[in-house]
Amino acid sequence: MSATFKDFRNNVKPNWCPGCGDFSVQASIQRAAANLSLTPETLTIISGIGCSGRISGYINAYGLHGIHGRALPIAQGVKMGNRDMTVIAAGGDGDGFAIGLGHTIHAIRRNIDITYIVMDNQIYGLTKGQTSPRSAEGFQTKSTPAGSIESSLSVMQMALTAGATFVAQGFSSEVKDLTSLIEQGIQHKGFSLINVFSPCVTYNKINTYDWFKENLIKLSEIDGYHPSNRIMAMETLMKHNDLVMGIIYQDKEKYSYQELLNGYSKEPLAYSRLNLGRETFDNLVAEFM
């Protein structure tokens, strides 16, 4: 019996502000999971800290709400321990691109088969409105009253240069497209990064729903755009200041970490028989004699 959208709902009421973009991300994950016929037991969501980090608690699936910035290493550990599990990591732009940026780059390089969804609102919400690495130059926040003098990090371009095999960008208002991106990310064999513009209605009065609607371009509407072309992907991002939606780049040929790993068990390690057996053990001991 395949699961439905409802199976991924639990009875927990999110503590997000009314109108928060994260509601749509939550719904998109739930729909994508149902569309792919996952069951709550075979989906694990690992989230970081911040408003968006609460998302693992709002979806009926296995989930771990961890430490600020460390959702990715935890998620990679889960996937390595159980290769049959569908693993999604999720968090905010502070989580993934400030405190956890090192992990983000290396998760991209490592290419373990998990999906990372970033709810990017260009601000720190839970700590009540400080600048983020995604805030635009000149953006005024509590921590940058005179406007930010640091550059905004172009995470999509960064992902491409780090060797990403799946780079996509979505928007909370486009739930259908976002659901499709998440489905494709989950199906991608390797690490998939999906950055989602998820407006903060309380602290970000610049990058609002209307602002994104006005500025975002759908890649599907660009003539001749093909996500297998990395040069085109980079040019397009630079040309449109990263404000694009859709799959920016996908390498369907590259093997995932698990596929390349020598000796890696075909069965989930979580179900390994732990006893070595006497003969095997004694052979290991004899190597030191």
Binding site: N10, N11, V12, P40, E41, T42, T44, I46, R54, S56, G57, N60, A61, Y62, G63, L64, H65, G66, I67, G69, R70, L72, P73, I74, A75, Q76, G77, V78, K79, M80, G81, N82, D84, M85, G102, H103, I105, H106, R110, L261, N262, G263, Y264, S265, E267, P268, L269, A270, Y271, S272, L274, N275, L276, F281, D282, L284, V285, A286, F288, M289
Partner: protein, 585 residues
């Protein structure tokens, strides 16, 4: 004939000093001697003085020696740095090539043997270490045929010719010493070994092998001295069991990845040293709060900060017990021998699973890198226990979604644990305070229930022999307390003190946290004086004993924090001071 002998080889780092020691040691432990090897090295790859110190004994030996009997020198610096440690009648065998000079103050006799020339005449000067092995074997009267199979193992792959010339290098080294120096020296002749076959390994080998025996399939780690050998061994071995080592981008990733893997149900761990442990502190808190098993090995080295990366110290004790914000249950084990390191690793994973908490295995550089001979580990002593883990589909259907009580408030505080994939065991895990079902909750009443539940778990902790004791005396003059690798030096000092008529007991603490106060209390109470022997500057272990047991008025400590391991005489001399002082007050 002597029962114990200390042999040391020294030269420039990268010159083959380590392999010289290896070959020498291998022949001796196969003859059934007990061995203890300790390397002095620097935080660089080429150059800088290095030496390999090997004690050979007919009885168990676990400490570096007070004096050297035979010093093999590949350069003058080796003589200048080490001659002070040579005993009366000790010998120096040095390469004639550098025209070795014996310092005026030296008590030892110097023999110059043309290591390099003999080796070069046989084909390559690289074999100078073989010539040195031959010469020292002649001095000790060890038959050369014992080296044949070892040379075969080492160079067999490179062909018969290489094997042959290496054997000849050993022979010619011995011939030269027999001819020019008079051959076997009676004071250096070892009584025969017992012929029993033992393992010869460093503590890190034992830790890594212990992890495999415990069922580990994943290690996530970041390279660091002196822990890297653990990951290096497992990189080779884990793929044979379907697992792997992942070299992470930093130690925060190493520890959190291990948490993720443990959460998924596999036994996983990480290993590091002080600087890495500092970065892992947040993960230790997450493991404690979410009740996810986590084993971390800390191979202590000289701190603080980068400190003394290649030197011995035991200064992470307090950080390992108390490090992380907030209150969590945690277990800190401190093995003192290679054997304990192996079995304690297996137990660390059992405790982590049974009590669902972080377990730190606290090693130190001397234990991690010191090489000991040890009886082969026993498969029958390996017991794997996973506590309240449920991985099959035996759970009843839930009445309501999300109602599985992962954090059920049980009598012993330990709750049932399921892993992703388990039917009817679905739950949420969070580092935020949570209720029995794992949902965030800030309610005061819930907070108290969950905190008490977590901290209650360790009340039922069972750990066999948390203190290794040697308590022959009912009311000893002195109780010596130590932890980790100081055990050998303390044991030897004790023997010397006993010879002087001082009654000494010894308590070596293997479980640092929760502190075994019940076991330690009577030992301290009955002793006239208590001396804590430890490798740090602030007396961390002594503070811990005072905090948990008391005994302030009769307690003092012997501290060493210059980077070098205790020698038995150093412990002995300072103990004599304490005993003398007390008996004359």
């Amino acid at each position: 004939m002597v029962k114990r002998l200390a042999w040391k080889v020294g030269g420039q780092q990268g010159e083959g000093i380590e392999s010289t020691g290896e070959i020498f040691a291998k022949a001796l432990y196969r003859l059934g001697y007990h061995l203890y090897g300790y390397r002095h090295f620097s935080s660089r790859i080429k150059g800088g003085h290095t030496n390999n110190n090997i004690r050979v004994s007919t009885e168990k030996v676990r400490s570096i020696s007070d004096e050297i009997d035979i010093l093999i020198a590949f350069d003058q610096e080796t003589i200048d740095v080490n001659f002070d440690d040579l005993r009366q009648d000790g010998i120096i065998i040095a390469d004639a090539k550098f025209k070795p000079a014996n310092p005026n103050e030296s008590k030892a006799k110097l023999y110059a043997v043309p290591f390099t020339k003999i080796a070069a005449d046989l084909g390559t000067s690289l074999m100078k270490n073989m010539v040195a092995v031959g010469a020292s074997s002649a001095a000790m009267g060890i038959p050369l045929e014992y080296f044949h199979p070892i040379v075969e193992e080492l160079f067999g792959r490179k062909g018969e010719k290489i094997v042959e010339s290496n054997i000849r290098a050993i022979e010619q080294g011995a011939d030269y010493f027999n001819r020019e120096a008079g051959g076997r020296i009676e004071e250096l002749a070892l009584a025969p070994g017992d012929g029993r076959q033992r393992m010869y390994m460093i503590g890190n080998d034992a830790i890594a092998l212990g992890a495999i025996a415990a069922g580990v399939r994943l290690m996530s780690a970041y390279p660091i001295t002196p822990a890297s050998e653990i990951m290096e061994y497992l990189i080779e071995k884990l793929p044979k069991f379907g697992g792997t080592v992942i070299q992470t981008e930093d130690e925060m990733a190493a520890a959190t990845m291990a948490i993720g893997a443990n959460y998924s149900g596999v036994r996983a761990f990480t290993a590091s040293a002080g600087p890495g442990l500092s970065l892992m502190t947040e993960s230790i808190g997450l493991s404690g709060m979410t009740e996810t098993p986590l084993v971390i090995v800390d191979t202590q080295r000289g701190g603080p900060s980068t400190g003394l990366p290649t030197k011995q110290e035991q200064s992470d004790i307090m950080a390992m017990i108390y490090g992380t914000h907030g209150d969590i249950p945690k277990v800190v084990l401190a093995p003192s021998t290679v054997e304990e390191a192996f079995y304690d690793m297996v137990e660390a994973f059992n405790i982590a699973d049974e009590y669902q908490c972080p377990v730190i295995v606290l090693s130190d550089l001397q234990l991690s890198l010191g090489k000991q001979s040890v009886d082969p580990f026993n498969y029958d002593k390996i017991d794997i226990r996973r506590g309240k883990l449920i991985i099959d589909d035996s759970l009843p259907e839930l009445e309501k979604k999300g109602s599985f009580k992962r954090y059920e408030d049980t009598i012993d505080g330990v709750s049932p644990r399921t892993i992703p994939g388990t039917r009817n065991g679905l739950h949420h895990v969070t580092g935020v305070e949570h209720n029995e079902a794992g949902k965030p909750s800030e309610a005061a009443s819930n907070r108290k229930i969950q905190m008490d539940k977590r901290l209650r778990k360790l009340n039922s902790l069972k750990f066999d022999n948390p203190v290794h004791t040697n308590t022959k005396h009912e009311n000893p003059d002195l109780l010596l307390i130590g932890t980790g690798s100081t055990r050998g030096a303390i044991e030897e000092a004790m023997t010397k003190l006993a010879n002087d008529g001082v009654s000494v007991n010894h308590a070596h603490i293997r479980l640092l946290h929760p502190f075994p106060a019940e076991e330690m209390s009577p030992l301290i109470e009955k002793a006239r004086q208590v001396v804590v022997v430890e490798h740090n500057a602030t007396g961390q272990l002594e503070s811990l004993v005072k905090l948990n047991v008391g005994g302030r008025d009769k307690m003092s400590s012997i501290l060493k924090y210059d980077g070098n391991p205790f020698k038995p005489l150093e412990v002995y001399n300072q103990c004599k001071g304490v005993v003398y002082h007390v008996s004359h007050v």
